[in-house]
């Protein structure tokens, strides 16, 4: 019983001193406090302060029976803003490079009557001309 009391006392002392150490230490919080002005902002080395993303759209050509060319357009979903336009052979694979405001998460690709809405989840997205079979 005496041993138990002694061990309990030691444990309390250790615990108390540990708490004191944590309290007194030069403690660094895991997240920086929020900046109050521009000078206090901290960002990563590779942050470039851009409000746009440069998007690479990899277009997979389609072997059309006869050579078909048309205007390949990347636009906002509602087609009011055009991000890219080029005269393109349907059979040609190519990369469309365009800048997109970072808050835009969808684009519409139009090639004549062919139209698809693409989600922009990364800086590299892809497109092909195939559509679900309509019966």
């Amino acid at each position: 019983m005496k041993h138990i009391k002694l061990l309990t006392g030691i444990a309390i002392i250790i615990a108390a001193s540990s708490c004191t150490k944590i309290k007194d230490a030069d403690y660094t919080p895991t997240t920086s406090p929020k900046a109050n002005n521009f000078k206090e902002i901290k960002v990563a080395n590779n942050f470039n302060w851009s409000t746009t993303n440069n998007i690479e759209l990899n277009v997979l050509g389609f072997a059309s029976i006869s050579p078909i060319s048309n205007t390949f357009i990347v636009s906002s979903e509602n087609q009011k803003e055009v991000y890219f336009a080029s005269n393109t052979l349907m059979s040609e694979s190519f990369t469309a490079n365009f800048d997109l405001p970072s808050h835009v998460k969808q684009v519409r690709v139009t090639f004549g009557s062919i139209s698809k809405v693409l989600d922009v989840n990364s800086k590299n997205i892809s497109f092909d001309y195939l559509l679900p079979v309509v019966e």
Binding site: K42, N46, V133
Partner: protein, 488 residues
């Protein structure tokens, strides 16, 4: 990998173009590919089951329990029929049932048809009846092209309908070959190919051509995609400023005009000087990283005042540069004239007289015969605008991590509060990675004099603190995003 993928599509596509014939062998294994070439299917799929007829894939119908020709069918694209025979292989999946057959119908093009497909009234012209008792062996079918449509030079479709009564069972079909010339346009709702209206004959139809009567120009490629972007500078580099980012505020839009070959013909650049909350006569210029001056044939519209610190090449680009550099305004105080004479802030103090914005419209002409330029060489990502401070040519202020020009005074890099390190391509950032300039892809209000930028845009700190991953709409004119009391 991409090359392999396109090769696969080309190799596997079941719709093969041969001289004056159309054929469908199903070997793509994917009806979407055939649909992309304007074939259509009704309750007919592709199958690689053991009853397939030839190769790895054949067509397989639904259960043939209906004598209607609109139950199970395959429809060709528009084509101009030739003469000779349609051939096809077919078989039944089982021998049950009373009757099974295949009906061939031709459909003319009717420009006045109400339907978007412009299909006229169909005419059945041949019926193949499977002999009874039914069996499962492969049949070769030969069907003459009707004389009414053969070599008519008109657009037709052929519908191949699978019919049946009694029992249940499916049919397979394969290796369809039809004499004729493919005449559909997959990019025009699969309607027949038509003459393109192209007034300047540059290969871009007028409906898509921004310059329908100018064969040298076809497309406008503008950034930002609507309206203007706003550039904002602090001009005390390499020392910190007050971060109101209004020492020079300029809106811009850049139209890179391309021709039908997608080569850059011309750049029409518009810069709207809005404010100069500075005390020094700064200048403004830009480049596209890596764009050679040899690609430029002329520069007009820029505003160069004397005295100025620049010399120019014969093509209007700045002399002494590795890349092509374009001076927009050599002295901003000559276009935004401080009121009261001398220097001083312009359009940053709401109680002072407002000076009208000044617009500089530049035209940059490109070599279009040799050493041509692709759109990818003049993107926003390569756009490199900068301030030239106090008429001192070597003192440049760029956006964060943008490369200074050949004419920069490199001795200033990395001094005072600047933490540039050319060896690691780090430029115009403090040790905490703060910039001296901001580029926003929308025209936005700027700060009143001496007010910290974060006091105008409520979510800016959260956006930058997340390294641009959250609050990406911080600059938009949306509810609660701005504090207009602090904005000019």
């Amino acid at each position: 990998m991409k090359k392999i993928a396109i090769l696969l599509i080309i190799t596997l596509t079941g719709f093969v173009s041969k001289s004056q014939t159309m054929s469908l062998n199903c070997e793509s294994g994917n009806r979407s590919i055939e649909q992309g070439n304007c074939w259509a299917f009704g309750s007919v799929s592709y199958s690689n089951l053991e009853f397939r007829i030839n190769g790895f894939w054949s067509m397989r119908t639904n259960q043939l329990t209906n004598l209607s020709t609109s139950a199970c069918w395959v429809k060709t694209p528009w084509f101009k029929p030739g003469s000779g025979n349609i051939t096809m292989k077919t078989r039944l999946e089982n021998a049950s049932g009373t009757s099974r057959g295949i009906v061939f119908t031709y459909v003319p093009y009717d420009a006045n048809a109400i339907s978007s497909t412009k299909e006229g009234t169909g005419t059945p012209f041949y019926t193949y009846n499977f002999a009874t008792p039914l069996d499962i062996w492969v049949k070769d079918i030969t069907v003459p092209i009707p004389t009414a449509i053969a070599n008519s030079n008109q657009a037709y479709k052929i519908i191949i309908s699978f019919i049946g009564s009694g029992g249940s069972g499916r049919a397979f079909a394969d290796d369809l070959v039809i004499p004729g010339t493919y005449w559909a346009n997959p990019t025009n709702n699969c309607l027949p190919q038509a003459l393109i209206v192209d007034a300047d004959n540059d290969g871009v139809q007028d409906i898509d051509d921004a310059y329908p009567n100018d064969a040298a120009r076809a497309y406008n490629n503008v950034f930002p995609s609507s309206g203007y972007s706003t550039l904002m500078f602090e001009d005390l580099w390499p020392s910190l400023g007050d971060y109101d980012f209004n020492d020079y505020v300029v809106d811009y839009k850049i139209n890179r005009i391309t021709n039908a070959a997608n080569k850059v013909v011309e750049i029409k650049a518009e810069f709207v000087s809005r404010a100069a909350g500075a005390s020094r006569p700064n200048g403004f210029a830009f480049s596209f990283d890596g764009l050679s001056g040899s690609k430029i044939t002329g520069v007009t519209g820029n505003k160069i005042f004397t005295p100025n610190p620049h010399t120019f090449n014969a093509n209007g680009t700045e002399a002494g540069q590795t890349d092509a550099h374009f001076v927009v305004v050599s002295n901003i105080f000559k276009v935004l004239i401080p009121q009261g004479g001398g220097s001083g802030g312009v359009n940053t103090n709401p109680t002072a007289v407002r000076v009208p914005n000044d617009t500089t419209r530049m035209t940059i002409s490109f070599n279009t015969t040799t050493n041509t330029t692709n759109l990818s060489e003049v993107t926003l990502a390569k756009f490199n605008p900068y301030l030239i401070v106090n008429q001192t040519r070597g003192t440049e202020i760029h956006l964060a991590d943008k490369t200074p020009s050949s004419l920069v005074n490199s001795a200033l890099l990395g001094t005072a509060d600047d933490n540039s390190n050319a060896g690691s391509n780090r430029f115009y950032k403090t040790k905490n990675n703060l910039p001296w300039a901001l580029n926003v892809t929308s025209s936005i209000p700027y700060m009143k004099e001496t007010i910290d930028f974060t006091k105008g845009y409520n979510n800016f700190i959260d956006w930058s603190g997340s390294n641009g991953t959250t609050n990406t709409d911080w600059y938009l004119n949306l509810s609660n995003l701005r504090d207009n009391n602090n904005l000019y």
